[in-house]
């Protein structure tokens, strides 16, 4: 695990350039270009607002205006979900590179996670601006790096794990989109955690989900302005560390097989 971190640090210049390439290449040739990083979350927000104010209105009093509450959860979730979806296929789509050039392959899933982190960071000012507009910007927003760090560790670990495993089981790519869909609904993004009664099986299930605590922390810091979910966040950090260790271990074990199997 430590060696994985060390190797990533040694290649940080490469990771950096690849992330910036990823960002540049994504919007190259489009009319809006970099603006898409801002427009994308706005459009996503618009869609959900439409659904949850017109079609399925959520009248829960403590999470109004609901679309703002939604935005606080969706932005980090998108980072998480897109990172996993992309990194599960990244080794296969870079097969040519892995077979022909000697470089640490863990760079590739890492770049997926970091590129999506960049998108998250670009979307954050949009969110903060809208929050400020509604007079909801609190000092607790300064604590955001904490849940981000927890999420980064967790996402990196899962990405390493999935990317290496997908080389052996291509099926994962197909299953993953459904799992992520289900996971989305099992995370309090489009409803509030507080809304689920204590002691119910659903609540217990939610507690087991490390993303729950991450998202709830974001919501508290951004939307509510008071944070009391530290224990949950700590739990997620522990799960994240385990996931990272497991991901790094699996990746390292499968490393030699990657060039042969992709």
């Amino acid at each position: 695990m430590i060696s994985a971190v060390r190797s990533l640090l040694r290649y940080r210049a490469l990771v950096q350039s690849l992330v910036s390439r990823e960002l540049k290449a994504r919007y190259r040739g489009s009319v809006l270009g970099f603006l898409w990083s801002f427009v994308n979350p706005l459009l996503l927000l618009l869609t959900y607002t439409l659904v949850f104010t017109v079609i399925l209105p959520n009248k829960q009093p403590d999470i109004q205006p609901f679309f703002l509450f939604l935005f606080c959860g969706i932005l980090p979730w998108t980072w998480f979900q897109a990172s996993l979806a992309e990194s599960s296929g990244v080794l296969i789509s870079s097969a040519n590179l892995i077979k022909k050039v000697l470089f640490p392959a863990e760079v590739l899933p890492t770049v997926c996670v970091l590129a999506n982190l960049a998108h998250f960071l670009l979307g954050l000012p949009v969110l903060l601006a809208v929050l400020a507009l509604y007079g909801k910007l609190h000092w607790t927003a300064l604590l955001l790096p904490l849940p981000m760090l927890v999420q980064l560790v967790l996402t990196l670990g899962l990405s390493l794990f999935l990317s290496a495993l997908t080389v052996h089981f291509r099926d994962i790519q197909n299953i993953l989109s459904h799992v992520l869909h289900l996971w989305f609904f099992a995370t309090p993004v489009i409803y509030s955690y507080a809304q689920i009664a204590e002691g119910t099986p659903l609540r217990r299930l939610l507690r087991l989900n490390p993303m729950t605590h991450v998202v709830v922390t974001y919501q508290q810091m951004l939307f509510q302005g008071h944070v009391d979910h530290w224990r949950g966040l700590l739990l997620s950090l522990a799960v994240g560390a385990v996931a990272f260790a497991a991901g790094a271990f699996l990746f390292d074990r499968l490393r030699d097989t990657l060039a042969e199997e992709v």
Binding site: S17, R21, K99, V101, F103, E260
Partner: protein, 452 residues
């Protein structure tokens, strides 16, 4: 003091025969042992390399030769560290750069400039080193004007040039080159070879994997010959390349035979005559009006046995079965010998030698005996022709028959005059120890090049 840049000890590499079968089993063994192969039965694996051992001295130029599928590229990947040996050990000393595929990992959407940066870092250059060599890379690739355009707009030649330029400027201690010089135009290939020569002068280690035996002869200090994943020969380039050629000739003897056979089959009447391909290039073909037809050609030794491989000094007889459709009175028979690269070694015909044709009617046999074949080792092609005295061809067979001369003496050129060394006065030399010619026909094996 010489140290080794690469040391391989009994390197064996196995691959799975069926990708994406038994995924659970292979994953389990990969997790437990780091290899996908442990739990597979022998028939499910394929051995690409077996017990290959060698060292490459620091600063030397090393070549790996062998037919397709002999394991050359597998070995290169192992040396590059992209895959690991199943058994045995392979260690490389110093920074290594492998030219396996030029421009692997270029992203089509972004500019050449950014791709250079990323490619160079991928090959292990730091940002500082990159800044230092960036201009040299762009100049070498001759892409100054296009460097800010997305790579997807490049021609394949530009793509390769940029890839080569980056790889060569990583300044490795060991450079692995896999047949990549086959791409690009002549000028660029020359430039690459110059750069490689410069590498050699600077004492860097170079490993070639190549089919270009000329290159091996010219540039390499040491050669490894692989055949079906095993070491077949190893050592001084000229010797190994010759062994390799002899081995290939073994297959060639069969090949030459079959080629002769198909040429004879082609001689069936009614075949449309084809004009020779462009002037200058030596290309096999057959043309002429077929008023006189060369029906078959046999290559015989002095004992009338059909052969296709000879040693210098032997007798080679060319026997033509000809047939005239109508009786003719104007006819010439000729032969020509050409080296493999199309140089005319010798040519003559009955007219040049003042034979006066009187009459050719029905079937006939024409025979020319080349006594004491004075040729050095190589493959030779034969032109055979029947034509009029003014040159109008009846039947011209170009390059449809060939033979090979094999020799233990590695003299050079084309022509080997019968010769003898003698020394007098203060020159003291030991005569070669029974170094006669190869014995193929156990008959008139020709002149010994050794002294008396």
């Amino acid at each position: 003091m010489t140290t080794n840049a690469i040391v391989a000890r009994e390197v064996t590499k196995r691959y799975r025969r069926f990708a994406h079968r038994n995924q659970l089993r292979t994953l389990k063994s990969a997790l437990l042992t780091g290899s996908v192969l442990a739990d597979l039965k022998p028939e499910e694996t394929f051995t690409a390399l077996e017990d290959v051992s060698f060292e490459v001295r620091q600063g030397s130029t090393f070549a790996v030769i062998g037919e397709n599928g002999s394991g050359k590229s597998t070995l290169l990947k192992l040396m590059a560290g992209i895959t690991r040996p199943t058994r045995g050990s392979l260690s490389v000393d110093g920074r290594i750069s492998a030219l396996i595929e030029l421009g692997a990992g270029f992203h089509p959407e972004i500019s050449g400039r950014e791709n250079v940066a990323i490619n160079a870092m991928m090959l292990g250059l730091t940002r500082k080193q990159l800044e230092r060599s960036y201009d040299a890379i762009v100049d070498f690739a001759e892409l100054r004007d296009f460097i800010d355009a997305p790579v997807k707009t490049y021609s394949s030649g530009m793509y390769m040039r940029l890839g080569f330029a980056v790889a060569i400027h990583v300044d490795p201690d060991v450079l692995l080159i896999d047949e990549v010089l086959a791409v690009g135009d002549e000028a660029f290939t020359r430039k690459c070879l110059d750069k490689i020569a410069e590498f050699r002068r600077r004492g860097k280690t170079i490993v070639f994997v190549t089919h270009s035996l000329g290159l091996v002869d010219k540039m390499c200090d040491d050669v490894l010959w692989l055949s079906h994943g095993r070491t077949r020969g190893r050592g001084e380039p000229k010797r190994v390349v010759d062994e390799y050629l002899t081995y290939v000739a073994g297959g060639e003897e069969a090949l030459l035979r079959s080629r002769s056979a198909s040429a004879s089959a082609e001689a069936a009447p009614g075949e449309s005559a084809s004009e020779p391909g462009g002037t200058g290039a030596y290309r096999a073909g057959r043309w002429g009006g077929r008023e006189v037809e060369i029906r078959s050609v046999r290559l015989l030794d002095s004992r009338e046995r059909e052969r296709h491989v000879f040693v210098p000094g032997e007798t080679l007889q060319l026997v033509l079965a000809v047939a005239a459709r109508e009786p003719v009175e104007d006819f010439v028979f000729g032969i020509g010998l050409f080296s493999a690269d199309g140089v005319c070694v010798y040519g003559t015909n009955t007219d040049l030698e003042d034979y006066v044709p009187r009459r050719l009617e029905g079937e006939a046999e024409v025979r020319i005996a080349l006594e004491g074949l004075s040729l050095v080792e190589g493959t030779y092609f034969v032109d055979l022709a029947a034509h009029k005295r003014d040159g109008t061809p009846y039947d011209y067979r170009r390059g449809q028959h060939s033979f090979r001369v094999k020799s233990r003496v590695k003299d050079v050129g084309l022509y080997r005059p019968v010769h003898r060394w003698s020394f007098a006065g203060g020159a003291a030399l030991d005569a070669p120890s029974r170094r006669g010619e190869l014995e193929l026909g156990d008959d008139d094996a020709g002149p010994r090049s050794g002294g008396a």
